[in-house]
Amino acid sequence: MTTEDIMPKLTKFVGQYVNINEITNDLDLFASGRVNSLFAMQLVLFVEKEFGFKVENEDLDYENFKSIDAILGFIQRKLAPAA
């Protein structure tokens, strides 16, 4: 799945919780106080439902979730065929 496939869905989801026009894709959503812990769980449910993979224990890395760019990279890595 390409960036062009993922980004519209991702920004639409994030846009439900933050003003998407006011942020950059590399903004740390959590550190900037734009989202709360409930968003963290909603994000897990979103990527699992939308992209069809499970977020596992070992995926719990702040670098996977902190920004739109980070989430995009995480989704791409999870969808990438195993080497």
Binding site: G15, N19, S37, L38, A40, Q42, L45, E48, L60, Y62
Partner: protein, 380 residues
């Protein structure tokens, strides 16, 4: 959303009601007075498969809701057993390691192990992210120090999910009752939930294996507790629905039998007004619970917010309906000879646990403002 129940769901609802009528309703007042839930009852629930229903997804969300509703119809205290036990199960199912799942889920499923959820402390309730309990790594172990309070079934649970700070980052751990340095202290004389066997948990240099960590450092509150609390709010919402329905049913029966001024209470229009509102508002709570069940079934991200709304509305309604039920019962409703007195006390607890209703209001209103902004952006 389809409101038509499957044959299996209808059968399950009837089965739950029969179980509650046989094992819970007749003794709930006595358990409340003695501030205890006997192990025989917990074992009976376990034997029916109720405690472990969520292990292996053997039950759909709506049917699980019915279970909580039917139990809540007779006992708010017992709802809290389903709540905390399933909260820990859900956290382990989602974030546990294979080792943790293989070790604990079979025992949690059979009820051989009862789970407790250790988040709240003396000085931190809703502000759980700033809990004071600490976990310090020492080789392959963590050493936990701190206290937890108001832990439902803490008197009998033998496996606890504990939130602690690891270098200032909220982290979740499994702590077994028999660990050295771990002890519990019963809490008595509560307003409600008297048979929920509340306890304080004390961890005094309690050493546990590092492998007991659930999730990762820093993800204890947002993800592990977040998963548990979402489950908890779902159970409480349905339990509140049951409690309210129990009050409605009791009030319908009482106002039919009780005569004042030569006619049944139900003939008095002011009683009819109370009953009409009780029925309607409880039905509204039911719709929110059904909605949460539907979203849970399809795993929609909005289920988190919608469950919060269901918990908020259903618990507020439970207290209002219980209060009105006491009013209809008059002095009888103020005595423990009638269940509405206990429901009234338990309903107040429902407004506080698994995130106080003020916390629910904050997150619901924030969500509303953001939804407004998002909708406005789409139309401009």
């Amino acid at each position: 959303m389809n409101f038509e129940l499957t044959a299996e769901q209808q059968e399950a609802k009837i089965k739950f009601r029969k179980f509650v009528d046989k094992y819970v309703a007749p003794a709930a007042a006595e358990y409340d007075r003695h501030e205890e839930t006997p192990m025989e009852l917990i074992n009976a629930m376990a034997q029916e498969g109720y405690l472990g229903a969520l292990v292996g997804e053997n039950i759909d969300p709506l049917t699980w809701g019915f279970l909580c509703e039917e139990v809540g119809h007779a006992s708010g205290s017992l709802v809290s057993l389903l709540t905390v036990h399933s909260m820990v199960i859900q956290a382990l199912v989602k974030w546990g390691t294979d080792e943790q799942r293989n070790k604990w889920l079979p025992y949690l499923a059979t009820g051989e192990v009862i789970a407790g959820f250790g988040l709240t402390e003396v000085k931190t309730g809703s502000d759980a992210r700033n809990a004071q309990t600490t976990a310090v790594q020492d080789g392959d172990s963590y050493i936990l120090t701190g206290q937890k309070k108001w832990i439902s079934f803490g008197q009998v649970a033998n496996l606890f999910l504990i939130l602690a700070q690891v270098e200032g980052k909220a982290t979740a751990f499994l702590v077994e009752r028999e660990r050295e340095g771990f002890s519990t202290e019963p809490i008595k004389n509560m307003l409600g939930f008297r048979s929920a066997m509340l306890a304080s948990l004390h961890m005094n240099n309690c050493r546990i294996p590092a492998s007991n960590m659930v999730g990762r450092i820093g993800f204890g509150f947002s993800h592990v507790a977040g998963t548990a609390l979402d489950q908890g709010r779902y159970c409480i919402a349905w339990g509140c629905l049951g409690l309210a329905q129990g009050c409605v049913d009791a009030s319908l029966a009482y106002s039919t039998e009780r005569k004042q001024f030569g006619v049944s209470l139900k003939e008095h229009q002011l009683i009819q007004e109370l009953v009409a509102d009780m029925i309607t508002q409880t039905q509204a709570a039911r719709m929110l619970c059904y909605n949460a069940a539907f979203l849970r079934e399809i795993k929609d991200p909005s289920v988190i917010m919608e469950t919060s709304m269901a918990k908020y509305f259903a618990s507020r309604n439970a207290l209002k309906v219980a209060s009105d039920a006491v009013q209809i019962h008059g002095a009888n409703g103020c005595s423990d000879n009638y269940p509405v007195e206990r429901h009234f006390r338990d309903a107040k607890i429902m407004e506080i646990i698994e995130g106080s209703n003020q916390m629910q209001q904050i997150i619901i209103s924030r969500y509303g403002y953001q939804s407004y902004i998002t909708a406005s952006a789409l139309t401009t």
